[in-house]
Symmetry: C2
Subunit: 332 residues, 2 copies
């Protein structure tokens, strides 16, 4: 049985309200009483019961985080950014995975509602196209901030990078380095980040007067598929001499594929990726990438959320677009 303020009150022969106040150094309580109370509290290893406090105060100090899946790419640093900021603001993190399923995402939203989270950070699943499942939280006035994998049609604030521009910049760079036949490999096409990166990619191809091959835009749901699809592309009669990958996950398949196909990088084929800057440094050759910081995305999302919670009247800008930078290495 854990000690409660009742226990302390009983032992000291005083009232619970006195104990409660003494514990938080309320100035009405005499110094002696305060120290007495604290002494006993210490002896009995008293710890306040947050469930009771939260119930009473109608605050949970809990923030929900729902992401598709914790892979080794991108999300670890995002979570770090989130956890750091939340911790500094006195919030705790309720971590939930949707496994890229709308149903699990919806379940998780329920859980957030029921646990009384004060805010939600959400990166949506592949199957999510509306914000309907967020209504219950929104109705309760719980701030929600989307990040990375967001939804277009919504008024919820979003923390993202300029996906289209980043993809465009990549194409430009490939061209400058001499690539003429460029292929882009993208993730799940339902995601808005995929759409935007495709759009930027395609527009850049056109603007640079580059040929838009029939296989210019390829899709891979994971690393394995990326490997397979790349090999196929390289075995075609007219293999590309420039490849853009929209994520580390895809890049991780592309490089081994090129190796298996004995393609010299960058001589026969140049490679550029979007990345948060870890994987490209482990690969051979070192891969040129458009850097977008997962940590920053997470930290910014958390920061905005905290601001919003602190001031419910605050209207966050709908878009918070983080900068990206080109890091040139050996693959281009």
């Amino acid at each position: 049985m854990r000690t409660t303020i009742k226990d302390i009150a009983r032992i000291l022969g005083i009232n619970v309200s006195t104990v409660s106040r003494a514990l938080k150094d309320h100035k009405d309580i005499s110094i002696e009483t305060r120290s007495e109370v604290k002494r006993v509290a210490n002896e009995l290893h008293y710890h306040p019961n947050l469930m009771a406090i939260n119930l009473r105060n109608r605050r949970s100090r809990l923030i929900g985080l729902i992401i598709p899946e914790i892979t080794m790419f991108f999300f670890p640093s995002v979570i770090q950014g989130i956890e750091d900021v939340l911790h500094r603001n006195g919030y705790n993190l309720l971590m939930l995975q949707s496994s890229d399923q709308l149903q699990r995402e919806t379940e998780n939203v329920h859980l957030c509602t029921e646990n009384g989270v004060e805010g939600l950070l959400l990166s949506v699943s592949r199957q999510t196209v509306t914000t309907e499942h967020l209504n219950e939280l929104q109705t309760l006035g719980v701030p929600i901030v989307l990040f990375d994998k967001v939804i277009e049609k919504t008024n919820l604030p979003q923390i993202i990078i300029d996906d289209a521009a980043a993809a465009g910049q990549a194409v430009l760079h490939l061209q400058e380095r001499g690539a003429t036949e460029i292929v882009g490999i993208f993730g799940n096409p339902n995601l808005s980040i995929t759409q935007k990166r495709i759009e930027g990619f395609r527009r850049a191809l056109l603007q640079q007067g580059l040929t838009v091959r029939s296989d210019a835009i390829l899709f891979a749901e994971n690393t394995t598929e990326a490997l397979r699809i790349t090999r196929t592309a390289m075995q075609s009669s007219a293999p590309p001499n420039g490849i853009f990958t929209m994520s580390d996950e895809i890049l991780a398949g592309v490089l081994p594929a090129l190796r298996q196909e004995k393609i010299a990088i960058p001589r026969q084929c140049k490679v550029i990726s979007m990345s948060d800057g870890a994987l490209p440094h482990y690969l051979e050759p070192l891969v040129t990438y458009i850097h977008h910081s997962g940590y920053e995305v997470g930290a910014t999302a958390a920061k905005r959320l905290c601001e919003w919670i602190a001031n419910k009247d605050l209207v966050l800008p709908k878009l918070n677009i983080l900068p990206v930078t080109l890091v040139q290495q050996q693959s281009t």
Copy 2:
């Protein structure tokens, strides 16, 4: 204002207890009342308040997870394993990072106590040498399971791999493949996993009659240090022809270092690592590794914890040692 059973009761002109029971299909309540209650509950978007329920039931359905840091290696899959199992058992995950600091770890234990977690999964920081800071939770009878980065001197159950054997197996393999001058690169020496891997490494060297070089055991706190230290080793008058790395994090520095030093792998130097099996497949050449599954470690830890919570009298075995397997690739 969120709807409560009171609201529903008032609207229907019945008692809250009736509502409470109707909501959970208590058989005493008439079918009509039940459906009436549910109808209204739905209309008003009723969601039970878990803070209240938990307070009343003295259960939080919350499991605390404290890890040093969410890096891209190992922990993502561990967390996946944990989340999967907990979700299946109806628990939620309170995620906390210690940033490898005992003080933050202790703070986090407090948070767990105050949030009333029903169990704790802990992978300790570099600075943690005793379980003193867990006393408050243990006193309350909250089950604690350690995993991966554990502490030797404790009775708490631990989910680990056979670290010493794994390191030994690695040495054996290096030798079989022809390495004679073997160096091991290890992480923080305070951690028990480091100690055990060193022990297994050293013992295997001796047992195989291999020379134990003065630089046989090197330490690197992170990828960058691993890179630096490897370059230094390779520049020495007698560079090793076999390297064992105890983790992906270190391996990620070693391979680029060998590349920079223009060392041919495996011809001039063979490389083997312990890994959960992602990174070795991205590197060039593909790296041979002793596979230990992060997912299994996480899932097992969570499973054991749930069993223990379900049956407090259960005495978990102190050690739960998961198997490892050798995956040979091109680097040896």
